[in-house]
């Protein structure tokens, strides 16, 4: 098997290297890739969309349809993880740890044992629980809002600097994950429930696709943000810019929701009780 794999790998590599021999030299300004389609984007981005960040304008406008489905890909992954992992039937065959807040005693409930009532006195803790370092907990709690704020900046400023919906969304998601790691999964779920996360997934994609549909309803092609000019009372170019912002926000929300949802499912193997 190994030898066979090696042969295949070497053959592929040989073929690929053979193909490189007719490549234009690296970073050649005259190469077809740099001269055929891309100059149009560079030269027209301002007059078409009034967005100086060409990557953003290509991503969200010229090739906005691609990006919409990119969001769908990530949405699919979120739903797929939920579909694969989520345990909907509770199987109470594992022991659990509970913390009695009043006395500070930690109780171990054996498999199948009676669970304490839902009250303020008991709090569930992870079975492989190690006391959290207070420093980490507090620090993380402090920086999470700032991370999120930065993420909003990244989303909103995608027109002018590197950034955009994906990056911003991931940063918000990462902030939630940081919170979940530094506390525990249940704490995170208390703040952003599973349904909420799923709702964010759908809502984000809905904003994107909905913007597209709105353009369609306003009489232009799907995702042709120029149509938004009619309801934004601006010229089509500015409308494009706003359209891009709208879809970036949608992307951000969707990515955030998906990242959090995938984390919830992966870290607890779908049980949503004990995470990392």
């Amino acid at each position: 098997m190994k030898a066979f794999a090696l042969i295949i790998v070497i053959l592929c590599a040989g073929l690929l290297i053979y193909g490189t021999s007719d490549f234009p030299p690296w970073s050649d300004p005259e190469s077809p890739a740099s001269t055929h389609v891309s100059p149009y984007y560079i030269e027209h981005t301002i007059e078409d969309t009034s967005v100086p960040n060409i990557v953003t304008s290509v991503l969200a406008d010229y090739r906005g349809f691609d990006t919409m489905f990119e969001t769908i890909v990530i949405f699919t992954a979120g739903i797929a993880c939920f579909f694969l992992l989520r345990v909907t039937k509770r199987e109470d065959h594992e022991s659990r740890l509970y913390h009695h807040l009043v006395t500070g005693v930690t109780l171990r409930i054996k498999e199948g044992g009676k669970l304490p009532d839902e009250s303020e006195e008991f709090r569930r803790v992870d079975t492989e629980w190690v006391p959290y370092s207070l420093i980490i907990k507090i620090t993380c709690r402090l920086i999470v809002p700032f991370i999120m704020l930065f993420a909003l900046y990244v989303i909103a400023h995608g027109h002018h600097s590197p950034g955009g919906g994906f990056q911003g969304g991931v940063i918000i998601g990462a902030a939630m994950i940081l919170f979940a790691i530094s506390n525990d999964l249940r704490a995170a779920i208390l703040r952003l429930s599973e349904k909420m996360a799923t709702f964010f997934c759908s809502a984000g994609v809905f904003i994107y696709a909905g913007t597209g549909l709105l353009c369609l309803l306003l009489g232009l092609n799907f995702l042709d943000y120029g149509a938004l000019a009619k309801i934004l009372f601006t010229d089509p170019v500015t409308a494009r810019s706003h359209g891009i912002l709208a879809v970036e926000i949608g992307v951000g929300i969707a990515v955030m929701g998906v990242v959090v949802s995938i984390y919830y499912n992966l870290s607890s193997a779908g049980k949503h009780d004990e995470g990392l």
């Binding site: 098997m1 190994k2 794999a5 090696l6 295949i8 790998v9 070497i10 592929c12 590599a13 690929l16 290297i17 490189t20 021999s21 490549f23 030299p25 690296w26 970073s27 050649d28 300004p29 190469s31 890739a33 740099s34 001269t35 389609v37 891309s38 100059p39 984007y41 560079i42 030269e43 981005t45 301002i46 007059e47 009034s50 100086p52 960040n53 060409i54 990557v55 290509v58 991503l59 090739r63 691609d66 990006t67 990119e70 969001t71 890909v73 990530i74 992954a77 797929a80 993880c81 694969l84 992992l85 002018h160 600097s161 590197p162 994906f166 995938i262 499912n265 992966l266 193997a269 779908g270």
Partner: protein
């Protein structure tokens, strides 16, 4: 031989990505542990991302964000001044796809672990064969 050397100099970065990709491919095919396979798969995807990004490179050009933002009408924008943005856009998509695939792959790995109690491929194979 001279040709080969010249070719190497002009296209060596592509060769690097090819080697990287082959490492990933080899891991996917040969490694026994499913997580290692997933890592191999990711290496393949990353290698392709590198490949596309290097297509975008352009000598003497800068990042594709037009300076002096909205005054673009006054300053003529020359395509030669900015690198090719298209591969970057494509690779944003590819990265997202890679992440999505990774997520699904890991979920599957977890489920497989729950089902078979192992992530070693030959153990799984023996278990399936015994049934």
């Amino acid at each position: 031989m001279g040709d080969l050397a010249k070719e190497f100099v002009t296209t060596y970065n592509y060769w690097v990505y090819i080697i990287l990709m082959m490492i990933g491919l080899y891991a996917v095919m040969v490694k026994n542990n499913l997580v290692k396979k997933i890592i191999g798969m990711n290496i393949v995807q990353t290698a392709i991302i590198l490949f596309f990004i290097s297509i975008g490179a352009k000598r003497g050009a800068t990042i594709p964000i037009i300076a002096h933002g909205h005054n673009g009408g006054e300053h003529a924008v020359h395509a030669a001044d900015y690198i090719n943005p298209l591969p970057h856009v494509l690779m944003l998509t590819a990265i997202v796809v890679a992440v999505a695939t990774l997520g699904v792959a890991l979920s599957l790995a977890i489920k497989i672990y729950q089902e078979y109690g192992t992530l070693e491929e030959d153990d799984i194979r023996t278990q399936t064969r015994e049934e």
